[in-house]
C-alpha cells in the first residue's frame, strides 16, 4: 500500500540483549495527524530515530512515503522534516541565521525563512541570538527548521515538552493546520494522552517496545463508553442470571460489583426489578465513564505502578 506515509514491517531494535522496540508494524496514513503515544522509555524515540536513519534497525523494514529507507535515504530525507527531542540550534547565532543554515544545506530559497518565521510567530525575535530565547521560542524555532523544507512528512518528538499552556496551545493550532493547509502528514510523539487527544486523528500506543494499539482516535474513544456498575450481594450469581436473560453483565470480584454495558434508563429499571425479584439486595447503582486517560493507563498496564 502506498497510502501510508510511514509503513514499517516487524521493525525491531536491540541494544545488547534488550529489545527496546519489538516487531512494530507502524502504519501512518497520509494526511493524518498520527499520535504516537507511550510512557517514558517505551521506545518512542528509538523508533523515531530509526525512521530518520539516525540509528539502524536490528531487523525489519521501513518504508517512508512509499520508498525503502535503506535504499533511498537521501530522497526520503528531502521530504521529511524532523524535530527529535530537544531542538538543535547554534545558540550564538540568531534564529534567522540558524534557519539560513538549513536553507543552505537543502538548497532552498532564503525567502522561505520569513514565511516560516511567520508561521511560528518568531518574526520579532528573528535577529536576536537564540541563547536569549525562551524554551517555547526555541521549540518553535525547531519546528520552523523542520517546516522550512516544505516536507511531506513531519516527525515531531515531544514537541510540547517544557512549554507553557499558551505555548502548547499555539503549537497545537499550528499542527492541526498542517495536513489541511499544506498537505503534510504529521507523526507526533508524546507521553501525554491529553496532548494527543486534541490534535491527533490516528493513534498508536507503544509500551515496553510493543505496539499495543493502533487505529483511529474514535476507536479509542469508543472504549470510553459508559458502564453501569451495581453494588449487589452475590454478584456472580446475579451476573449469571442477567446473562441468562440476554443482558450483558460481568461480575467484578475485586470490588464485589457488577458491571453492565446496558445503560438505557428503562432497561436499567427493568434489570433492577428483575434482580430484586430474585432476592438480590441492590445497594447502589452508578454510571461510570472511563476517561481516555484511564484507558491509556489500562492499555499500558501502568495502573499498578502509579
Amino acid at each position: 500500500m502506498t497510502d501510508y506515509a510511514i509503513d514499517t514491517h516487524q521493525l525491531t531494535r536491540r541494544f545488547g540483549q534488550r529489545e527496546t522496540v519489538k516487531r512494530i508494524d507502524l502504519k501512518v496514513p497520509k494526511r493524518e495527524i498520527y499520535g504516537f503515544l507511550g510512557p517514558n522509555g517505551a521506545g518512542k524515540t528509538t523508533t523515531i530515530r530509526m525512521l530518520l536513519g539516525l540509528i539502524r534497525a536490528s531487523s525489519g523494514d521501513i518504508r517512508i512515503l512509499g520508498k525503502d529507507l535503506n535504499k533511498n535515504r537521501m530522497e526520503i530525507l528531502k521530504d521529511v522534516g524532523s524535530l527529535v527531542e530537544s531542538p538543535s540550534y547554534y545558540a550564538h547565532l540568531s534564529g534567522y541565521k540558524n534557519l539560513k543554515i538549513v536553507t543552505l544545506m537543502h538548497g532552498i530559497p532564503e525567502s522561505r525563512i520569513n514565511e516560516v518565521l511567520q508561521w511560528v510567530r518568531l518574526e520579532q525575535a528573528a535577529h536576536r541570538p537564540v541563547k536569549g530565547y525562551s524554551l517555547g521560542m526555541k521549540q518553535r524555532l525547531g519546528i520552523a527548521m523542520a517546516l522550512i523544507t516544505k516536507p511531506k512528512l513531519l516527525i515531531l518528538d515531544e514537541p510540547t515538552n517544557g512549554l507553557d499552556p499558551s505555548g502548547i496551545q499555539e503549537i497545537r493550532e499550528l499542527i492541526t493546520r498542517l495536513p489541511r493547509d499544506f498537505d503534510i502528514t504529521v507523526l507526533l510523539s508524546s507521553h501525554l494522552l491529553s496532548e494527543i487527544e486534541q490534535v491527533a486523528t490516528y493513534v498508536g500506543i507503544i509500551n515496553h517496545g510493543e505496539l499495543i494499539f493502533q487505529g483511529p482516535l474514535q476507536e479509542l474513544t469508543e472504549r470510553s463508553r459508559p458502564y453501569v456498575w451495581m453494588e449487589i450481594d452475590r454478584p456472580m450469581e446475579a451476573a449469571a442470571a442477567l446473562n441468562d436473560n440476554g443482558w450483558d453483565a460481568e461480575p467484578d470480584a475485586a470490588t464485589g460489583q457488577l458491571r453492565t454495558s446496558v445503560t438505557g434508563r428503562k432497561e436499567s429499571a427493568e434489570m433492577i426489578r428483575y434482580l430484586v425479584g430474585r432476592r438480590h439486595d441492590v445497594y447502589r447503582v452508578t454510571e461510570k465513564k472511563k476517561t481516555l486517560e484511564e484507558i491509556f493507563l489500562e492499555l499500558t498496564g501502568q495502573e499498578q505502578s502509579l
Binding site: L52, L54, I55, S82, E85, Y90
Partner: protein
C-alpha cells in the same frame, strides 16, 4: 640564522596543537548543541559531513601557514639583515601542513566519537609533543606513526619528499576510513 631550527620546531608544535584544538572545537559545537541528529537527518551523505569538517580544518590550517610565514619574516627582519631564505620559510610550514593530514583525520575522528572533548585533546597534545621526538628515533616502525610525519617532512632532513607523499597517501586513506566509520556510527 641560528634561531631558525628552534623557531621551526616551535611553530610545528603549535601547528599540531592547532589541529587538535580546531577539531575539538568543530566537533564540540555539534556535541554541545546536540546538533548531530539534526545534521544527520538532512539529505546529505553522512560521510560528507565528516569530510567537510576535515576540509575546513585543512583550509584553516593553510591560513595558519600564511600567518607563520609572515611571522617568520618579521622575526627575520628583527634579528638579521641577511637575505630572506624564501624557499625554506614558505615550504617548511607548508610541508608541515601537508604532512599533518593524517593527524587531522585522526583528531577529527576522535573528537566526533567522544562527546567529552578532554580525551581527544589529551591524545592530540600527547601526539603533538611526541612528534618532536618521534622523528629522532632510529626505528622505522616509529617513523611510520602519523605523528612523526610533520617532523620527517622538514626540508632540513634528507628524503623528506618521500614522507610528504607517504603522509598524503596515509592522510587520504584515513580520511576515507574516517568518513566511512562516521557514516556507520550511531549518534545520540
Amino acid at each position: 640564522m641560528r634561531v631558525l631550527p628552534s623557531c621551526i620546531c616551535l611553530s610545528r608544535l603549535f601547528f599540531l596543537l592547532g589541529i587538535t584544538i580546531l577539531a575539538s572545537i568543530m566537533a564540540g559545537t555539534e556535541h554541545e548543541t546536540k546538533a548531530w541528529k539534526q545534521l544527520l537527518a538532512m539529505p546529505i551523505p553522512k560521510g560528507s559531513i565528516y569530510l567537510a569538517n576535515l576540509l575546513w580544518i585543512f583550509i584553516l590550517q593553510l591560513c595558519t601557514v600564511a600567518i607563520t610565514v609572515v611571522g617568520m619574516c618579521i622575526i627575520w627582519f628583527l634579528y638579521t639583515s641577511e637575505p630572506l631564505p624564501w624557499k625554506i620559510l614558505i615550504l617548511q610550514p607548508l610541508f608541515v601542513c601537508l604532512s599533518s593530514l593524517p593527524m587531522m583525520a585522526i583528531q577529527l575522528w576522535f573528537s566526533t566519537v567522544f562527546s567529552n572533548q578532554a580525551l581527544p585533546l589529551a591524545i592530540g597534545i600527547f601526539g603533538s609533543i611526541s612528534s618532536l621526538f618521534l622523528a629522532r628515533s632510529r626505528s622505522f616502525i616509529i617513523h611510520l606513526l602519523p605523528w612523526s610525519y610533520p617532523a620527517l617532512s622538514s626540508q632540513l632532513i634528507p628524503g623528506h619528499v618521500q614522507w610528504i607523499w607517504i603522509s598524503l597517501g596515509v592522510g587520504l586513506l584515513l580520511s576515507v576510513l574516517g568518513a566511512f566509520m562516521f557514516a556507520r556510527r550511531e549518534f545520540e
